[in-house]
Structure formats: C-alpha cells, structure tokens
C-alpha cells in the first residue's frame, strides 16, 4: 500500500474511533470551559491558583491521547490483514505522527485562547507546556506503539517490564510535579532545568521507540507473550 492509502486507512480508523467515542468531546469541552472560566475568575478576584489552567491543558491532552492512541493499538487483526512488515511499520509511524500532531494542535489551540485572554497567563501556560505538555505528547504518541515491538520469545522481557515500571513511576512524578508547579514558577532556573530534562528524556524515549519499530521482528505471538508475562508480574 502507498503512504496515501495508509493515511486513508488511518483516517477511516480515526473516523470510526471518534464516532464510537464521541462523548469524549463533552469532556474536552468541559475541561476547556472550566479552565477558561477559572482563568477569568482568577483575573477578576486574584484568588486561588492560576495554575489550575495549565493543569486543564494536560487533562485535555490526556483525553485526546486516549482517542488518538486507538490508532496504534496492538491487535491481532493488524497482523492478518494484507500489510507487509514494511507497510505495517509505515502505518504505525504515520499513526504516531498523526497522534503527535493532533495533541500538539490541541495544546496550541488552548495556548492561543489563553494568550488571547491574558498574555501573562498565556506565557505561564506555554512554560507548563514546555515542562510537561510537550514531553507528555511525545511519549503519549508512542504509548501504544511500544506494543508493536516484537521481542523474540527467548529474550528476557525485562525491557518491557522496566518500561511499564518507568511508565508508572513517571506518571506519579508528573502528577506530583503538576501539583508543585507553583514552586517551579517561583524558581525559574529549576523550571528551565526540569523542562530540559523532561524533554530530553521524552525525546530519548521516542527515538528508542522508533528504533524498536524499525529493528524488531513483528511476531504477534512474541509480542503478546511478553506483554502477558510482564502484566502477570506486575499484578
């Protein structure tokens, strides 16, 4: 299949997924609405925390991510339909690009709205985006793609195990960081360092994921067995 056909197949899939998850649109509207209202209230009464707004950005990104990663879900059918190994790789890589673009657009839209309302808070949103939004979007784009990597069954699935544990730990740290974001705003140096560190980490993760897609075999059974082994251990 040509890239055009693969893009078309992906868009059809997005359309069907979106049709089946249309209620998520309400969640996005609610998050958007609440964040904007909170911002207006803060500007008027100067009470509460303005950082609830950036938190809203990532809640939105999270909801979009749930929708977007449908596309790169690891499923049996994807290995039976007439896609060659090369085509399947291209399909997933285009999917990753779609996911990332989609999430980035949502973030940019929110940042644009915030800047239009108040430039100062708009800048705060951009900073939080640099610290968390961008790395999160990158990693979320690759979240399901990880499952594509088919390690040989004889291999120790330690890598997958470590990947899950790191994912959970990073998720907890990200939540803690979001709650402590006020502290970072008071210490710009720490803010910059955190932003650089998180972005470098996420880029490293993205590069690793791409290499996995390019280099590993795609034996469905091996992928599945490794996933199950790891999940059993984690349970």
């Amino acid at each position: 299949m040509s890239n055009k056909d693969l893009r078309k197949a992906l868009l059809i899939r997005y359309g069907v997924c979106f049709k089946n998850r249309w209620y998520n649109v309400f969640l996005i509207i609610i998050y958007f609405g609440l964040s904007i209202l909170e911002e207006i209230r803060f500007m008027n009464v100067k009470e509460g925390s303005s950082y609830i707004i950036p938190a809203g950005v990532f809640a939105i990104v999270g909801v979009v991510a749930i929708l977007a990663v449908e596309i790169t879900r690891h499923e049996k059918c994807q290995y039976i339909v007439p896609l060659s190994y090369e085509e399947r790789k291209r399909y997933y890589l285009i999917g990753v690009l779609f996911n990332f673009t989609f999430m980035l657009l949502m973030c940019l839209l929110f940042m644009g709205i915030t800047i239009a309302i108040n430039k100062e808070y708009g800048m705060a949103v951009i900073k939080v985006f640099a610290i968390m939004g961008l790395p999160y979007s990158i990693v979320a784009s690759f979240q399901k793609i990880n499952m594509f990597k088919g390690k040989k069954k004889k291999d120790n699935p330690k890598g997958v195990y470590v990947s899950y544990v790191i994912g959970v730990v990073v998720g907890i740290l990200a939540s803690v960081l979001l709650f402590q974001i006020g502290y970072l705003f008071e210490h710009p140096l720490y803010m910059k360092l955190t932003a650089v560190l998180l972005n470098v980490l996420s880029l490293g993760r993205a590069i690793y994921a791409i290499l996995e897609i390019i280099n590993r075999d795609t034996d469905y059974e091996n992928v599945k067995v490794n996933q199950l082994k790891v999940l059993k251990k984690l349970m």
């Binding site: 059809i12 049709k19 499923e75 059918c77 290995y79 039976i80 339909v81 007439p82 059974e221």
Partner: protein, 288 residues
C-alpha cells in the same frame, strides 16, 4: 498447476512446542481438514499460515505468493475465521468492516451487508454483544466480501450448536462452489471432516502424520477385530491396536494379506484415524 496453498517443510519453534517439517499442498476447489488432539499443533500451523507467527524455516505460498517475500499479496488472498475473535470487540461489525476493509483492494461493502443480512448478523451491534456463532458468521461475511481465495478457519465450529454447525458446513460448501477457492480448517470434531473435507492432514505433537485425500484414507486402511493370535498374524500391516477384555481391535493397512484371517473387517471412521494416528503409544492399548 497453481496451488492455492503450498506449505513446504515449515518448522516453527516455540518454548515448549515445535512444529516440524509440515509439508502439503492444496488445490483450488477443495477443502482440507486439519485434525489432531488438543496441543497437536493445529492452531500453531494456522497462525503460521496467517502470518501471526513467523516460521523458523520453510516456505508458505498462497496463490503462488510467498508469505515472506510478498506478504501483502499473499495475505490479500486470505480469508480468516478464527475461534478467538481477532476483530475489535468494542466496535460493531459494520465499523470493524469499515476499518479493515481499507486494507483490501477488492472489498465490497454492499456484498458485506448482503452477507450480514443472509447470515442474520446485525451489523450495528457491538461484537462483544454478539454470540460466538454470530461472530463466526461475521468473520465469514467479512472473508467472503473481499473475494478471498483461501479461507483459513481455526476450529470454526467448536462450541457451536449442531444446527449452526450444519449451517456452517453448507456455507463452506457454497464458498468453494466456484472452483477457484479453497478452505483449510482445523477441528477436533471428526463429523465435520466426514461431512465436508476432501483432504485430511493429521497432526500429532507438532508432526505431520499423514496428508491424503479422504477417499484414499478410507481406501488404504481397515479396522480389524479378532483374537490376539489372529491380529498377530497381520502384524506387518498393523498401525496400532487396542486390547479389550473380549477382543483386539487394530488399524491395519488395507492389503490382501489381511483377508481370510478370520478377523472382522470394518471401514474405519475419522475418529479411528485420529485415535490410532494421534497417540503416543500407537502400538498397543490395553483396556481392563
């Protein structure tokens, strides 16, 4: 002659199981049944033909297209019906068809809806709300709608009621009527083989015991019953035997030498073949 399916010396090594030197061909217009006990390698072989498993060595060709070198063309000729539903359960049949039809050049959505209506599949119901039989019918409708040449079915009738099993057999017959399509299906229900299969492949512990036409199979072997001494006289022709308190029963090659030995001779059933070919101690079973 161009074969629909060519499996050449296929080996697949798994952790505790391996498929060894599987080699057979299937012509257009025929149905081949894969039989064997649980764990004999039927599903492993089917997964290898579908490309879900990467074979360790050997070749699989579908309509002349090599599954390794020309994967997308080979898979384009494949229709699949699996015991474990490979489609998205949270979506309806129609949505699944929309998503996966985009990979097939010849997928006909009108034909799909017609088949759904014929098979009584509600295209708007989520797969997770459909019965197992209906999911099988949906998979069949999908496979038939993209003009597949080879239908690969993994235990399509296991766990289904007898009425639907009969219906499925009729659908299988219909599917190959045009003469340019073939079916490979695995089962441990011997009556299915009796009803529809033209060829039979028996697997045991990952090894191919025999591949032959059903007629040849029934022509080449006989079940004989008699006393221990009488059966002993047939020894060179004996494939396996079982000893009961009253008589000895054996599967033997259908040769002139088995005649006039005072044994009762019967035509074996598929269940007999499975029993004698698919056991570890083929030589002798003693029932006390």
């Amino acid at each position: 002659m161009e074969y629909i399916l060519e499996v050449e010396n296929v080996n697949k090594k798994l952790d505790t199981f391996s498929l060894e030197n599987i080699d057979f061909k299937l012509e257009p217009g025929f149905i081949m049944g894969l039989i064997g006990r649980n764990g004999s390698g039927k599903t492993t072989l089917i997964n290898t033909i579908l490309g879900l498993y990467q074979k360790t060595t050997g070749n699989v060709r579908i309509c002349g297209h090599d599954l390794c070198r020309d994967e997308s063309r080979a898979k384009g000729e494949l229709g699949f019906v699996l015991d474990e539903n490979p489609f998205l359960e949270d979506f309806s049949s129609l949505d699944n068809a929309r998503i996966y039809s985009s990979y097939y050049k010849n997928f006909n959505m009108d034909m799909f809806t017609r088949y759904c209506s014929r098979f009584d599949v509600d295209p708007k119901r989520k797969l997770k709300k459909l019965s197992k039989g209906t999911i099988i019918k949906f998979q069949l409708a999908f496979a038939l709608s993209h003009d597949a040449k080879l239908f690969v079915m993994d235990e399509p009738a296991s766990g289904l009621d007898p009425v639907f099993r009969r219906e499925l057999m009729e659908i299988m017959y219909d599917a190959i009527l045009s003469g340019d399509k073939s079916i490979l299906f695995s089962t441990h229900l011997t009556e299915e083989i009796d009803m529809v299969a033209d060829y039979v492949t028996i697997l045991h512990e990952g090894k191919q015991v025999i591949t032959t036409s059903k007629e040849e199979l029934f022509e080449s072997y006989r079940v004989v019953k008699g006393s221990e001494e009488k059966i002993q006289l047939l020894q060179p022709s004996v494939i396996g035997k079982k000893v009961t308190p009253y008589y000895v029963e054996a599967l033997v090659k259908n040769e002139e030498s088995i005649l006039n030995k005072g044994c009762q001779i019967e035509i074996p059933t598929i269940a007999d073949f499975m029993f004698y070919f698919s056991t570890d101690k083929r030589e002798e079973f003693t029932y006390v």
